[in-house]
């Protein structure tokens, strides 16, 4: 349940985030940055504001108003859902049982076994279909405990009022423009995760995985391949 709310929020955040980004597709490091400041890098795309020199002869329509409203509303819903998931995960032992890799799996040998299985395009065994392998476990832990907190933190650090109340939260990141730049890169990583995640679910048998995700268990007989 929390998964699908998160999915919905993620897509809303992605669309509105891209929309906000195109009003100024330049990135800086430090506290301040504008079109008179040398950028860290800029994206080779047109902008939705005429003041930004992009090299394109046209300006995209400005959709920032609803994009910002939607971005923050989806962020609230995602964070509240995330807190529920976190409480639930701790309470039921989901993190410990399903996501924390077993000590034995943390060796390079175990790691390579998983990689080799994937390279040989072996399909999942019955046991594998019910549990996550070590790479999946580490990826999920990284997304849940590193990328999600970081994207929330850098997002909040861009807020002038939050910066006034918690200046250290901005200073550690190197400034408000640095926070914006990190926010961008973390979002890119999350999109990469999403794409790989979808491809993997597709390879694992779309119907059986969807069934597991929606009703909570895989079909008793795995789909023949």
């Amino acid at each position: 349940m929390t998964h699908w709310i998160t999915t919905l929020c993620f897509l809303a955040l992605l669309v509105s985030g891209v929309e906000i980004l195109i009003s100024h597709p330049r990135f800086y490091w430090g506290e301040a940055g504008n079109i008179l400041t040398p950028p860290l890098f800029k994206l080779p795309i047109p902008a939705s504001r005429a003041t930004v020199p992009t090299g394109y002869g046209y300006v995209l329509p400005d959709q920032n108003g609803w994009s910002r409203y939607l971005h923050f509303q989806a962020a609230w819903l995602a964070v509240l859902t995330g807190l529920l998931y976190f409480a639930f995960g701790l309470f039921t032992g989901h993190f410990r049982q399903n996501l924390l890799p077993a000590r034995a799996d943390l060796s390079w040998q175990a790691f390579w076994t998983v990689v080799a299985k994937h390279l040989r395009f072996q399909s999942a065994s019955e046991a594998d279909a019910r549990s996550y392998n070590v790479i999946q476990r580490l990826t999920y832990l990284f997304v849940i405990f590193v990328l999600f907190p970081l994207v929330i933190w850098t997002g909040l650090a861009m807020s002038p009022a939050i910066a006034s109340a918690f200046p250290a939260a901005v200073a550690i990141l190197g400034g408000q423009q640095s926070a914006r730049t990190i926010h961008f890169f973390v979002s890119v990583l999350l999109v990469v995760f999403l794409l790989v995640h979808i491809v993997m679910v597709g390879l694992a048998g779309f119907r059986s995985r969807m069934r597991a995700m929606i009703i909570g268990r895989p079909a008793t007989n795995l789909e023949p391949r």
Partner: protein, 252 residues
């Protein structure tokens, strides 16, 4: 089955009732403590209300970060403004000697201040960050009179809850709550980076609200109106921004 569903129905019914009354109480309390923004209606109302309420609880008295003179952006970036009309040009030709800042609404002594009068008031200088909702920003020194001082001079009535401020560009008007209006860093700015406030940055007078995004710092201000409700102004959403699709509260 029937036993199970009856118990479930009772529990669900109780939960829904408790939830609904809980929400109603929360809304009452939030209204009473000024935690509901004027643009709380509509599709994005819940998110806006959560943001505004959370920030009013967390950031009511916090001070915007101030920077060292070495961190001032050189050169600062003056955003594009709509063409300034004939009335502005006439005042500019006269060296802004006839520029007035009118203060009216729920005040004991409505007044109109000239620039010379404003410059004679206690001055505050602060080096703060100005961020635009588009994503760019600059750091500059702002020089001006704390809005709280002006509100004190005219005698704000106790029921005052918001201050509306208007630009000479008639379609640009904004408002802030008393937490921001009385905040020591909210300035009626008449100077910048050691000199007078250039027209490109909103001169001769700009309201600087450093804990909110740039669009709340209205340029070329001519009138302040103190009020207890934003409903009678414009479309009742608080300012020109929500009418154009942008959030009223821009502390994000």
């Amino acid at each position: 089955m029937s036993k199970f569903s009856r118990r479930k129905m009772i529990t669900t019914g109780l939960a829904v009732t408790a939830g609904a009354s809980g929400l109603a109480v929360a809304a009452r309390v939030a209204q009473r403590y000024g935690l509901i923004p004027p643009d709380a209606g509509g599709l994005y109302g819940p998110g806006e209300t959560l943001t505004y309420a959370a920030q009013r609880l967390l950031t009511r008295h916090s001070l915007a970060r101030e920077f060292a003179p070495s961190q001032i952006s050189k050169p600062p970036f003056a955003n594009a403004v709509d063409p300034l009309g004939e009335p502005f040009k006439r005042l500019q030709d006269g060296g802004f000697t006839d520029w007035r800042l009118h203060v009216d609404g729920m005040v004991a002594r409505p007044a109109a201040f000239s620039l010379a009068e404003l410059r004679s008031f206690p001055v505050r200088r602060q080096i703060t960050h100005l961020a635009c909702e588009e994503g760019w920003s600059y750091i500059a020194q702002w020089i001006g009179v704390p809005l709280a001082h002006i509100l004190d001079l005219v005698g704000t009535l106790p029921q005052a809850r918001y201050v509306i401020y208007r630009s000479i560009q008639s379609d640009w008007w904004e408002s802030i709550d008393m937490a921001d209006a009385l905040h020591p860093q909210t300035l009626v700015a008449h100077g910048m980076n050691g000199g007078e406030l250039p027209v490109g940055f909103g001169g001769p007078l700009r309201l600087r609200v450093p804990r909110q995004l740039g669009y709340k710092s209205v340029k070329f201000i001519t009138r302040l109106t103190v009020t207890d409700s934003l409903k009678p102004f414009g479309k009742g959403l608080g300012s020109a921004s929500p009418e154009a699709g942008y959030a009223w509260y821009a502390g994000i």
